[in-house]
Symmetry: C2
Subunit: 418 residues, 2 copies
Amino acid sequence: MEIREQLISMATEARTASRFLNCVGTERKNMALAKIAEEIKNNCGYILTENRKDIEMAKHNGIKESMIDRLTLTESRIVSIAESIEKVINLPDPIGVSEGFTRPNGLVINKVTVPIGVIGIIYESRPNVTVDAAVLCLKSSNSVILRGGKEAINSNIALVTVINKALELCGFVRGCVNLIQSTSRDYTNELMRLHGYVDVIIPRGSAGLIKAVCENSTVPVIETGAGNCHIYVDDSADFEMARNIIINAKTQRPSVCNAVENLLVHKEIAKEFLPFIADALLEKGVEIRVSEECFEYLDGYSVNGADEQDFYTEYNDFIISVKTVENIDCAIEHINEHNTGHSEAIITKSLFNSQKFSNRVDAAAVYTNASTRFTDGEEFGFGAEIGISTQKLHARGPMALKELTTFKYVISGEGQIR
Amino acid sequence: MEIREQLISMATEARTASRFLNCVGTERKNMALAKIAEEIKNNCGYILTENRKDIEMAKHNGIKESMIDRLTLTESRIVSIAESIEKVINLPDPIGVSEGFTRPNGLVINKVTVPIGVIGIIYESRPNVTVDAAVLCLKSSNSVILRGGKEAINSNIALVTVINKALELCGFVRGCVNLIQSTSRDYTNELMRLHGYVDVIIPRGSAGLIKAVCENSTVPVIETGAGNCHIYVDDSADFEMARNIIINAKTQRPSVCNAVENLLVHKEIAKEFLPFIADALLEKGVEIRVSEECFEYLDGYSVNGADEQDFYTEYNDFIISVKTVENIDCAIEHINEHNTGHSEAIITKSLFNSQKFSNRVDAAAVYTNASTRFTDGEEFGFGAEIGISTQKLHARGPMALKELTTFKYVISGEGQIR
C-alpha cells in the first residue's frame, strides 16, 4: 500500500475512534488511564528490553550522550511515567464544559467544549512523550497519531503496544492511540498533508523540526516553539532580586525552553550591576558573552564577545548573552526584534515601566519581578502540559488539557426562523 | 523590487503599525472609525466613479450578473457601509479584557486579550468586505493586509485611499490598512508564504479559494468554509414546525453559507412528510433532488434524482437534496460523512434524540428545532462578523471581534524563583 493510503487508513480508523471517545464519559476514560498506568508498570521488563535495543543502536550510531540520556528508560523512570498518569486522572475532564446565553428571540445558545478529533504529534526521541501525549489526548477524548523520533522506535512500539492492550481490556475501540511504525521520513511528510483527515498537528522538539512542520503542513499546526527568553534589568531594579531571578532562570535547568538566554541591562546601572551579576554567573559556571560596550565594565572578568547571532540563539546551555540598553524602550524594541514569543521578564521597582513592558512586549508570558522558568503548565496550575505554544492562534503559552479541546455551539429553539 | 521583497516591506510596515495600534486606546480608535465613516460618505462620488470602472470592465469581460451585483456600489450601499461602521464603533473594545488568578507562591497571573498583530485577508470581488475587514481589524488593534479580487481593484484602491486619508487625519501611523494593488496571482501566493511576517490569513470566498489557501499557506489560516448544511426531520417531529424551518433555511436567502442544502427524513414518516414538504418547497420554486427510495412517496410530484455528488454539494441556490434514513444514528452518520462542519439541525420532540444529535454531530453549530440561518455573528449577538469558521482551532462558528484577538499571560511577582 502507498504511504498516503496507509496513513489515510490509519487516520480514518482514528476518526472512528475519536467518535467513540467523544461518547465515553469521564469515569470510563479515567478507568482506562488507570489501566494504562498499571499495564506500564506490569510490563516494565518488556519495555526496558525494547528500550535497551534503541540505546544500543544509538550508541552504535554515535548519538551524543545528552540525547541518549533522554532516550533512556529505567525502572524508576517508568514508575514516574506511571505516576504522571495518576496526576492526569485527577485533573478535571475538559470536555462538556459549557457556558450559555439566551437571545431575545428565545434561542438558547450554549458554547460547549468538545474534543478536537484526530491529533497528530510529531516529536523527537523521548519515549516519555509517547505516554504523555497519548494520555493527554485520551483524557480530552481525542484520538492521536504519534510520530516519534526514529532512535526511540522500539521503545515507542513497546509503549503503544502496552497502552493499546490496556485500552482493549477496557473495551475501547481500536484506533484511539496510533503509532507510525516506519521510521521513513516520507511518513512524516505525508502525515502533514492529511488535511481533512487529521485536525491538528503539534510538533514538539527542535526549532528545525518545528520550522519544517510549519512550512510543509496543510493540516493546521500549533507551534510549540523555541524559547529565546530575555530578562531586562531596569535602572530601578533591586540588585539582589535581579541576581536571584537571573541565576534561577539561567541555571536551574538550562536545557529547557523557559530558561533565560539574554540579559539586557539599563546603561545607567551597567557599571555597578554587570560586575555584580558576572560574579554570580561565573560562580555557577555560566559562560558570559557580552556585546562590545560591556567590556569596559567587566575589566578582568573572564567573558567573551557576543556577535549579533548570539542574540538570536537559544543556547539551552550554561551560556548567556549580555547587552546594555539606553532605556526601557530600547529593551522592548530589542526583545520584540529578537524573541521567539515565549517568556520575557523585567526586573524593576517602577510601576510605569512594569506596565509599559507588560503591554508592549510581544510574548506568551511577560513577567515583572519573577523568573521566566514559571512558564509551565504545572506552575500555572493547569496540570500536565503538552507543550508551550509560541504562536498566537488557538493556544498561547502552556498548553494543557483545555487547549486540546475545541467547542461547538449547541442551540435549542422552539421553531425559531429568520 | 521582487514580489516577496515588496510584500515583506509592506508586512514590516504593518508590523510597526500593529505596535502603534496596540497602544492606541478605545476612544482614539473609535474616533478614527468615525472619521473613516465620514470620509467614505464625503468621497462617495470618487468611490462611485472608480467602482464604475470596475463594473464596466466586468461587463466587458462577460462576468455573470450575480457577481456584477456584488461588485456594484451605489450611493445607498455606500451609506449602509458607513452605517455599519457606526455599529462597530458601538461594540465593546475586545482588547485588554483580562481574567486572573493568584498561585500559591503569590504569583499573580493575568490572561489579557491582545491583538493578533498583522492579519492577511484574501477575498473575492466584494468592495464592502474591504471596509468591513479594515474596520474590524482596526477596532481590534490589528493591522491588515487586504488582497481583494481583481475585478474590484479600482473600487478597493479608492476605498483604502479614503480610509488611509481618514487615519492620517487622526494621526495614525502609515501601514495600519494595506492593500495589495497588483492583481497578479503571484502576490497572493507570496502573501501566503510570509510566515513570521503575517500572523494569520483569513480567506473569504469560494471553496476553491479557501482550499488553495489552506494547501499553500505557511502562515496559520482560519478557514471560513463552505456550508453544506443539513436538517434532519426525526420521526417525532412536529410537521408544521419542520416545514417552517426548512422553508426558512432553504429560501430566505439561499446564496449564503448557513442556508440548508440537504434534508434527511426518518423513514417512518417519509410517506406522510415527503409530499407535505414537497408541496411547500415546490410552491417556493425550489428544485427537489431525491435519492432513489423517495420516488415512491412522491408519485406525481415534479422532482429529480439526486446522485451521491448532490449530497456533497453546497448549491447556494433554490435546490435541495432529500434522502430518507433508517433512524437518527444513520442521520448522524450521514451528516458527519458529508457535512462541512458548519450548521446542522434536528427537528424533534424527543429529548434523547436532541441530546444525541447535539453530542454526536460534528459541526460549529448544532440546532434543535430552529433554522440553520441563525449561524451569524449578528444573530448570535456578537455584532459584526468577519466570517464563519468551519475549522476547529482558534475560532469556530461566527468570528467577530473577539476572534481577532489572542492573549498573553501578564505575570506579576515579588522576586519568585523556582
